[in-house]
């Protein structure tokens, strides 16, 4: 065990936590209004990453067509926009996509469907969005430029990109603001009321569709933002985005699907452990073993939470998804 590398792992791990931390916020936010897991955010994040790549990439090596058919013909032309403008457009698209999804699923008729049905709808939309990526002319191994520039910050022996620092700041600010908003404001109370009982909430005068659409629009924006920031760091691979979403889902579960600070705490822990494994705090560990350790750690965290909440699990009782 090499403890000299621990400070470096801590700094880099905290920065990495920013990347892990945004998607759980979107998941928790939408869960708090619908009591369903919004898998759709994985699709929005994946499409946002691809969209940002299309809008912002400047490369003469990659053919400029947006859509490619299997016979080699294509459609459209990459606009090569300023990265910040591309970020704004992508986030706006995420807002529209999330809002549209929320407008549909928070209608009186659809919201009355079972949790399982709503989860299937969410998975279906996610898969359709992921499916559209196959017709796009994207090379996932090429990362797009960062909207926050190419600056690098040096903390100790660690070099941090501006993208990572900005991501971390965004996550901290957004999760703190949302935690206050959900627990201290009237709108937050309405969201919690709808999450507990939609019918009762509506009879109390809460505008279901308005509030629902707003929450989904906000969480869609966050998912799109997460997609862009992850794409800048790791490339816009849709499959990777799904894996990161699922990892984010685990973090949200660790936060009890309600606590944003706890989910962020779990993201910090995950980021630090992963970085410690990568930089060699525990000696040389192969990539596959790193994944195995992280998966095991996440599973242990989930089951730890389950045990903490064990009084809620009645013998033989069937719990909804």
């Amino acid at each position: 065990m090499n403890l000299d590398l621990l400070p470096e792992a801590l700094v880099a791990g905290v920065a990495l936590a920013g990347l892990y931390g945004l998607l759980p916020i979107a998941i928790v936010l939408s869960y708090r209004i619908s009591r369903t897991i919004a898998f759709v955010h994985a699709g929005i994040a994946a499409i946002a990453a691809l969209g940002y790549w299309m809008l912002a990439l400047r490369s003469s090596l990659i053919p400029p067509q947006i859509i490619y058919w299997s016979d080699g013909s294509g459609l459209g032309h990459r606009p090569e926009l300023n990265p910040r403008a591309a970020l704004l457009i992508t986030c706006a698209a995420g807002l529209v996509a999330g809002g549209l999804y929320g407008w549909v699923v928070m209608s009186r008729r659809v919201s009355a469907a079972s949790t399982l049905t709503l989860t299937i709808v969410s998975l279906g939309v996610m898969m359709v969005l992921l499916g559209t990526s196959t017709v796009l002319n994207v090379q996932p191994e090429v990362a797009p430029p960062s909207p926050f520039g190419d600056h690098r910050f040096r903390i100790g022996s660690v070099n941090l990109s501006a993208n990572k620092v900005a991501t971390l700041i965004i996550v901290i600010v957004v999760s703190a603001a949302l935690a206050v908003w959900l627990s201290r404001t009237h709108t937050g109370l309405c969201i919690r009321a709808l999450a507990d009982d939609i019918e009762a909430g509506v009879w109390c005068g809460i505008k279901l569709r308005l509030v629902g659409t707003g929450v989904y629009a906000l969480s869609g924006t966050l998912a799109a933002l997460a997609g862009v920031l992850i794409a800048v760091d790791a490339g816009p691979n849709p499959d990777d985005m799904v894996v990161l979403f699922l990892r984010g889902l685990v973090l949200a579960v660790v936060g009890g699907m309600r606590s944003l600070p706890l989910a962020f705490g779990a993201a910090l822990l995950l980021g630090v452990v992963q970085t410690a494994l990568i930089v060699g705090v525990f000696g040389e560990v192969s990539g596959a073993w790193q994944e195995l350790v992280i998966s095991g750690l996440l599973l242990a965290a989930v089951f730890g939470m389950a045990r903490l909440r064990r009084e809620k699990f009645f013998l033989l009782e069937r719990q909804a998804l």
Binding site: V128, G131, V243, L292, L316, E317, R318
Partner: protein, 674 residues
Amino acid sequence: MRISWPSLHRTEPIATGTAPVRRAAQHPGVIAVTAIALLWGAYGQDYLIYTVNAGIATALAALGLTVLVGWGREVSLATAGVFGSAVYIYGYFSRPITGKGWPWVLVALLVMLLAAALMASIALISRRLPGIYLVMLTLGAQVLIERTIFTFGNYSGGIGGADDLGRSMENKRPQFFGIGISDDFHVLGHRISADGAFYYFSLGLLAVALVLVTRLRRSPYGLAFLLVGTDRQAAAAIGIPAMRLRAVIFATCGALVATGGILACWLFINPPIFLNYTAPYSLVLLAIPVLAGLDSITWVILTAVLFQVTPVALEHYRVGSYMIAGIGLLAGAAFGSRGMGGRARDLTRFLLYGPRRERTNRGRLQTGTLRHNDGLSVDGATQISATDRERALAVLTAWLPQRPPGELALSAHDVKVHIGAVRALDGASIEVPTGHMVGLIGPNGAGKTTLFDVISGLRMPNSGRITLFGSDVTGRQPWDRAALGMSRTFQFARVVPDLTVADNLVAGAYQRIRRNPLGWLAGWPSTWARLRAAEEAAYAAAQLLDIDRYWNERCSTLEFSARRRVEIGRCLLSGPRLLLMDEPAAGLDPASTVALFGLVRKLHAELGLTVLLVEHYVKAVLSNCDYVYVLAEGQILAAGTPEEIAANPAVQSRYLGTRMLARGTPAAAPAAMP
């Protein structure tokens, strides 16, 4: 002109579940489809035959998911991992040069056992966890499988497709008694390609799987799977070992998915890279039963083949499996739990017989169902003739097991249950003598349902002792208690809404007719004769409960009173000596309540059942029960005959009020009107 719709009332009530394969094989549609499938293997295009072969492998995996998702109502995101690991592990152990070179039969069995064990262990680990944790657990298993496969290149070839030494990882298709499925062959001078030969082999394997899955579905095990999936507590209360069967559901799914993987291994020859079996592909597989219908075996197979063929047909537009799966999931959500298969059946019936509501009403009018709101008279007498009633009673009496006599059916002594700081039960003790009808009343929150849960084994007490027919059952599971002769109903009728009345009733017979599962799968006549006997008893119970007119209707279409009687009938099929009824009149109108109590009284008298019931309609309890307990704040406040209870000042002040005495003794009340 429309074809007249057959009456919903079955003149021949038996054979709801027996001989499903033989009956299906006689269907003209099945014969036509089989003929087309056989001819297509000889005349279809090679690349399409190859694609359909891949579809058949996927169909086997999807059949596994039908068992898991459709019957067990569980979910797994590890299916792709299990499928992929079957491909690689089978390949490694059966390959002669880069693997172990073991006989293919042995390896195939080993792989199926491993997959079944993996899935069963997931079921055991997640036995007390809600759905979201199961998703997490299966996802974790999927990631672990992916990474393990990726790490050990000798199994999978890593991302290069070869072992650590760069040697090809080619698998050989198996041979049967010297006949291979890797070569072209000729039939009546017509050449059939190697993939065509493999197609016939796949088709044969699929047919075997189809027969086995269909038999499983119609057997008591299949019905028990559905009940466990819908409501574990209700299943446990009639003697179905819910957690054990849940593990069996997972194991069956694992074995079927592994069979698909083995077939894929033979098909591909060179195993595909592990990236084909990552987590999102589990969602693709999951979409198949969701779209086809959660209980539609044939449609699952068609959908699986469709999922494989469509991306090939739309290759130019680069429509991949994710897109197909996404559309499938959305369509499945729109179709509902019966999926595409259910909607297709509805459409066929609509075209042949007209709108469903009209059909149902016409059928009900023919059978007199619409004459009365629930078919029962006030004293609980049904509308069947005296001869039929006697016959039904004789059948049901013969069905119920002979039990040794005993004085005390149930004893709960000093039961304490603490939920956090709340003392839900604080030293409650009751006794139920054999052959009596005992009531338990008390205000809301008194602990009545908690005491019921403790007695039936759904909740373990902090202290106290439960004795059932002389045996101490305090620490035993609900299904063990049911085996001793106890059964229970719940506050709200908990039946399987997607099953017919017949299937719901027969599901109750699980612990009476379960035998060696292999007997059901192999179709042994002696084993299936047990099901026929259960169907006869179920029909007799349906006649006595006046629900025989709904015999073929799904429970979701029944009104509340009829559902309640289905639940009672299901309990009767489990062969009880002691029947616990939790608020049987909850949600019923006054007339139905009176009728139901009359019916329970008759069953108690004619079948010699001991009954313990919790009820808020005090007059009904005091009029029908021999002995009554009053529970308040977790303790027994009073116990005695109905007259003693009605006259007890403490009970009057805490629960009954004093107006009752002014009206006269409750036993003399004209009827048990609430």
